[in-house]
């Protein structure tokens, strides 16, 4: 707005979530800062958005800098299949401007703010130490038709393969796709999940061998 300072948007994580948050924030003419660990990813974001955003290496120092300046802070951190790291602790909230909004998109994987707990579309926000927390666990559910079409366009291809090859053939055909198998006949076949809960991990091919011979 003319005569009004630009809002500051901080985005922790420059992956798919972070990039799309960038698109929207840049569209709103916000002052956008993105933190990421990967130099390649930062270079990519910088190439796309040029001077419209600032990229910073995701270090404790830079995270603090972004906490202090942000009006909206988006948690967009993902470690595939594993619990999200808690990058912002409760005591860190004191550095933030009162009334700042935290949106924790990582909430499905446990959240990347220590003070995050899952909320629903019915009652999406709550306050901790003067900071508004938005932690809806199924955010895309808000645009259900678009989300369904986007989701099924991808899941259908794999689903059709499972229907033809069964789970066993699907996994044996492709090791990357086999990463989708989390639980198989009583065995936990996804390492990050087993680790998160202190359960025994059995690689999918071992679990299938055992099941086939019993």
């Amino acid at each position: 707005m003319p005569g009004v300072g630009r809002g500051h948007v901080g985005i922790i994580g420059g992956g798919i979530v972070g990039l799309n948050a960038c698109k929207m924030a840049v569209g709103l003419s916000a002052d956008v800062t993105v933190l990421d660990l990967s130099l390649d990813r930062m270079a990519y974001l910088d190439d796309i958005f040029s001077s419209q955003i600032t990229t910073l290496h995701s270090t404790p120092h830079h995270i603090e800098e972004v906490l202090r300046q942000s009006d909206v802070l988006v948690g967009a951190v993902l470690i595939p299949g594993a619990k999200a790291p808690k990058l912002v602790k409760r005591e860190d909230l004191a550095m933030m401007k009162p009334g700042t909004v935290i949106v924790d998109v990582a909430i499905d994987q446990g959240g990347c703010f220590e003070t995050s707990k899952p909320t629903s579309h019915d009652d999406p926000t709550y306050m901790v130490d003067g900071i508004v927390h938005y932690c809806v666990a199924n955010m895309p559910g808000a645009v259900a038709r678009t989300s369904t079409l986007a989701l099924t366009s991808v899941t259908q291809n794999y689903g059709l393969r499972i229907a033809v090859e069964d789970v066993e053939g699907f996994c044996q055909g492709n090791a990357e796709l086999a990463q989708g198998l989390n639980v198989y006949k009583g065995e936990c076949t996804y390492e990050a999940v087993a680790k998160a809960h202190g359960l025994d991990f059995t690689p999918w091919f071992e679990a299938m061998k055992v099941a086939a011979s019993s």
Partner: protein, 147 residues
């Protein structure tokens, strides 16, 4: 294979695991598709749309769980759904088990074969089934934050 989808029961969840277009794709390959009545109501897919695509409408989620070899959903199974899962049944949906020990233990106990959308990888190490929702969530994050 018999493939089934049910109406999502998590609060304000109107997404659905199979669209009429997906039902048609499965039927075209010779599979049977079972759909709980009203599964797509929240987003404008009527029972008739599924029937027109070759799907069969069943009156309850229980009927779908009892017959289908593979259940295709969106969210992790809720308490009522977990009770209906059968041994060796394929569950194909978002699970997010790393943040949910209770669900993990229950699925192990039910002896199902559970494939989680969010951990399927492609050749480049990307997460193809998580990507579309990440794109949408990232965009919504700014909308929500700006409110």
């Amino acid at each position: 294979m018999i493939v089934g989808t049910v109406k999502e029961i998590k609060i304000h969840e109107y997404r659905v695991g199979l669209t009429p277009a997906s039902a048609r794709a499965y039927v075209a390959q010779g599979h049977r598709v079972l759909v709980e009545t009203g599964a797509g109501d929240g987003i404008g897919f009527s029972d008739q749309d599924y029937v027109d695509s070759g799907g069969e409408i069943l009156p309850t989620a229980g009927d779908v769980f009892a017959t289908a070899d593979m259940i295709v959903k969106v969210k992790e199974p809720q308490v009522a759904e977990i009770a209906m899962l059968r041994k060796d049944q394929i569950l194909y949906t978002y699970l997010h088990l790393a943040a949910d020990k209770e669900q993990t233990v229950i699925l192990l106990d039910r002896e199902v074969k559970a494939i989680a959308y969010e951990t399927i990888e492609d050749e480049r190490g990307g997460l193809p089934c998580l990507r579309p929702m990440s794109e949408i969530a990232g965009r919504l994050a700014i909308q929500q934050g700006a409110k």
